[in-house]
Amino acid sequence: MRNDLKTYLEELKAHGLSPEREARMRDELATADNGHGLPPDLSLDDDLSGFNRSIYAFGDLLALRQAVSPQYSVAGLMKSLDELLERDRQREQDGFPRKIRVGRLAKPGRGGKGKVVIVPTTVEEKLFHDSTIKPPDDGGVSGGTGEGEQGEVIGEQPVRGEGEQSATGHGQGEGEKHEMESSAYELGRTLTEKFQLPNLKEKGKKRSFTRYTYDLTDKHRGFGQVLDKKATLRKIVETNIALGNIPDVADIDPTRFLIAPRDKVYRILSREKDYEPQALVFFLRDYSGSMAGLVTDLVVTQHVLIYSWLLYQYGGQVESRFILHDTEAREVPDFYSYYNSRVAGGTQVSRAYHMVNEIVAKESLANDYNIYVFHGTDGDDWDEGGEKAIPELRQMLTYASRVGVTIAEHGQTGSTEVARYLDDSGLLSDKPELIRMDIMQEDADEPRLIEGIKKLIS
């Protein structure tokens, strides 16, 4: 793979590349061999987990009775959240910045389907020392006890995916988890109501919520379409035992059976509700080497919020597919892998678009679903003019209800390739009802994220 990329890079170079861009590409290329491994699950009672634990994290009540700290209930939390958000709106009117942040999180664990972790948080800002300013490969110091020569390595811990390194990383070995799980649906409701996210308007395209099929599933005694022989025989035996007609159960003579009409059990044609998923969301994330750090966090957080919002809009009838791409695209089964896969490698946006088109065509999804595609990237693409991406995108727009591209800029790059070729293609102005782009800086905060969602979906 690496060689392919190198040749590819050479080709690109032949077409003319600015040295700065080439350097960036080489940077990415260098990471291509690292792979996109998932972080291993961190066990909390690990020997090393106490490393960052402050001495002030110890409390008598929990230490002495060996208890766990009590948890807030989700229901109570949502209630207080309403009040808090109201208070926050009031703050803004009074001329002070908002203080509550909601849903700033998102690290669904493996298998927790439809669950996101929602943490309404606030910080009491104070002037205090920042101990995080140090060379990035220095993880700090702590106390230790036991054997080991000076310099000896006593334990190792894999560097987690980019998620853990971010400021919002949870439970970094802290041992205590203070997070609430709530369904994504609840989060969607909060977002819609509290941040005045728009409601879906595309009612015309929306399919009927339920449709009926007829199936021979119900059973009925006495009459019906098809005789259920096994159930009928069972009934007959029951009746005959009750009548005393079977003196010896070991030796049953079927010819002596007395058969009542009600003993006959039939299958009968009945109306079945058939729930059809309404929306299908493709989440696309660039996990190339350049996505390290905050940008990935932003993109993923925004995707959680979008997912929650759609879930609410469609009354829970949302299916999601997760696709990661560097120079190749890959579908992953769950949000956990989507969120946590490590960044590495180069970037080719077109591959991901191509994969979406392929999946849609192969599974002929376009007829049955409202399809949404959300793509998060830092705007970097080796395919500079979008020669491959734009045609794929055009095809996508033939069936998609909305394509939303989020570009989290690193700040120093100016206009990014993806932004440029999207602009140049004219798609954004031609079909604003189908495709939107949102560009933000990598240090964007929560309100900005929500703004971005409004922009992408309204």
Binding site: S54, G59, Q66, Y72, S80, L127, I133, T168, A292, G293
Partner: protein, 569 residues
């Protein structure tokens, strides 16, 4: 044994429902007579061992529900209501720096002291916890850093404060919460040590500034008088003191100014030249803010007072975590093992005790470290090793066997408990012998770039390094003072004395906005920051070679009309 049972409606246990207005009153339950009797037995034994504390204590049973309500209020049932208390705050990075008071304390420093239990503890476990609690109470009531909390009951005070705030809230609505928020934003800048020193300096110990100036500076540096003349002046002062009593200084200077007419000018010049600063920002605002002292705003001052008092109350607790937990662990171990009432539970005890006080492979545990330090100090003092003779001793064999047999270790650790805080405790007593005995080391964490793993390694086994690491982990609010000479045109100028760590940048804006609100004019903050790292996004990538050095740059932030700006100095 008589068991004084406190009336259940005693102030501490009562709490009003959130918001203060809805009258859902709930009374926590006291422990039963049987358990109370066990507690009283523990008190007798603890007293016999030398601990000293007030007779009365209150023990309440808490459910998890109670805990949820109490923990945001730092276990003070009567603390004022504030909406941030109602929201679960994410334990973000730096959280403990922000709220170092642990929400789950077992005992609070009130009069009488109140402690919390769950109702299904077996007796033997209660005995252990009771000893732990009693040692904490002894610590609260005897450690000199707690001097400011000795003369009143905090729950009572907090209750009246809570009512003041509830009343204000009824009048002023949400603006009360804004003021609380802004005041709490600077409640770590209250100059706790200044507050303490005021309590300990007796009035007769001080000489006037004028007298100090005259003898220390004027005579010696300005006039350069001979030693015999100097002594003559000292004698003359003493004579004045004897003859004129309270009028001594006036008489003394009456003569001195005759001899040196320029003295007064020199003195006042020196007074002016001395920088006028205050490290107590909250207190400073209370006294000097034009905004707060306007008639329509004076109600805000009571809120600032309350926030400041509350902060000062918790300060000693934050600064004695290792000492306090170590002391309590030391005593619960000692007293439990001697207690005849719970024979047969030694193994149960050992399991729980080890869980609390085992030294972790990596990380710091205040119980474990503090307890070992106390045990070690007692042992060393028993052998007379805190002496000049021992310190001079270089021969390691002689050091090992050194024992004067003074056996006054107990008295010694009682002195430690009375006089030290965490900083001094670690600085004075964490030595190489202690490190070696307990196999302690500084654990480091570094990135292995090839394999993308964090490596934990033994960084150092030197006492100096360990001490530094431990001291760095202690609570230490930034030293920020008001510089009165630099504030021009009604602005407030704050100077952060840089100690190698910059301030958390994203919190500066809102905190300064709060200060601006309370001050009523522009606010400046002079501080140091890591110089702009070139290409920050790229450096976030871990495969990029890093510069190990951080360049610090002095900058000044300006907050004016809620807009923050920054410029380099």
């Amino acid at each position: 044994m008589t068991t004084p049972r406190p009336p259940p409606e005693s102030g501490g246990g009562r709490q009003t429902g959130r918001g203060g207005t809805n009258q859902v009153e709930k009374i926590m339950e006291l422990i039963n007579q049987h358990t109370k009797q066990i507690m009283e037995g523990c008190k007798e034994r603890a007293r016999a061992a030398g601990l000293s504390f007030t007779d009365e204590t209150l023990e309440y049973l808490v459910t998890n529900r109670d805990l949820l309500e109490l923990s945001p209020k730092v276990m003070i049932p009567t603390l004022y209501d504030y909406w941030v208390h109602d929201v679960e705050v994410l334990r973000e990075k730096g959280k403990y720096e922000l709220y170092p008071g642990n929400p789950y304390e077992t005992v609070i420093n009130t009069r009488p002291p109140i402690s919390f239990y769950n109702d299904n503890n077996p007796d033997w476990l209660n005995v252990m916890i009771f000893y732990h609690v009693l040692a904490h109470i002894d610590f609260f009531q005897n450690n000199l850093y707690f001097r400011n909390t000795w003369d009143y009951d905090f729950t009572g005070q907090a209750l009246s404060d809570k009512r003041v705030i509830a009343k204000l809230r009824a009048e002023k609505g949400r603006w009360v919460d804004y003021v609380i928020e802004f005041a709490r934003g600077i409640d770590n800048l209250v100059d706790f040590h200044g507050e303490l020193s005021g309590l300990f300096t007796t009035s007769e110990a001080g000489y006037s500034d004028r007298l100090n100036y005259y003898f220390d500076v004027f005579l010696q540096s300005v006039k350069k008088v001979s030693i015999s003349d100097y002594i003559k002046e000292v004698n003359r002062y003493n004579v004045c003191l004897k003859n004129f009593g309270e009028q001594a200084e006036k008489t003394f200077f009456g003569e001195a100014t005759q001899r040196y007419p320029e003295l007064e000018t020199h003195f006042s010049k020196m007074e002016d030249a001395r920088p006028k600063t205050s490290r107590d920002l909250l207190g400073f605002l209370l006294d000097n803010s034009g905004f707060l002292n306007r008639d329509e705003n004076t109600w805000m001052k009571s809120i600032l007072e309350i926030v400041r008092k509350t902060s000062i109350f918790f300060q000693p607790q934050i600064r004695t975590k290792i000492l306090n937990e170590g002391w309590a662990s030391y005593w619960h171990e000692n007293l439990f093992l001697q207690d005849d009432r719970i024979k047969g539970h030694e193994v149960d005890f050992a399991r729980v005790h080890a869980g609390v006080t085992a030294m972790p492979r990596v990380g710091m545990n205040p119980y474990a470290l503090g307890m070992r330090l106390f045990t070690n100090i007692e042992d060393q003092a028993d052998k007379g090793r805190y002496s000049f003779v021992f310190q001079r001793l270089a021969d390691s064999a002689a050091r090992k066997d050194f024992d004067t047999g003074v056996a006054n270790g107990r008295d010694f650790i009682f002195k430690v408990r009375e006089n030290l805080c965490d900083y001094l405790f670690i600085k004075n007593y964490l030595d190489q012998d202690f490190l070696d005995r307990h196999k302690l080391f500084v654990a480091g964490k570094r990135l292995d770039q090839q394999r993308m793993v964090w490596q934990y390694y033994v960084k150092s086994r030197k006492a100096d390094d360990y001490r530094q690491m431990a001291l760095d982990s202690l609570y230490h609010p930034p030293a920020i003072r008001v510089d009165m000479s630099k504030g021009i045109d009604g602005s407030l100028y704050l100077v952060h004395s840089f100690e190698g760590k910059q301030l958390v940048r994203e919190y500066i804006a809102n905190t300064m906005m709060g200060i601006e609100y309370l001050w009523g004019g522009p606010v400046y903050l002079e501080t140091s920051e890591a110089g702009a790292v070139h290409g920050q996004a790229l450096s976030a990538r871990r495969d990029e070679p890093q510069e190990g050095e951080i360049r610090w740059q002095r900058v000044v932030y300006t907050m004016n009309e809620k807009v923050l700006s920054k410029k380099a100095l």
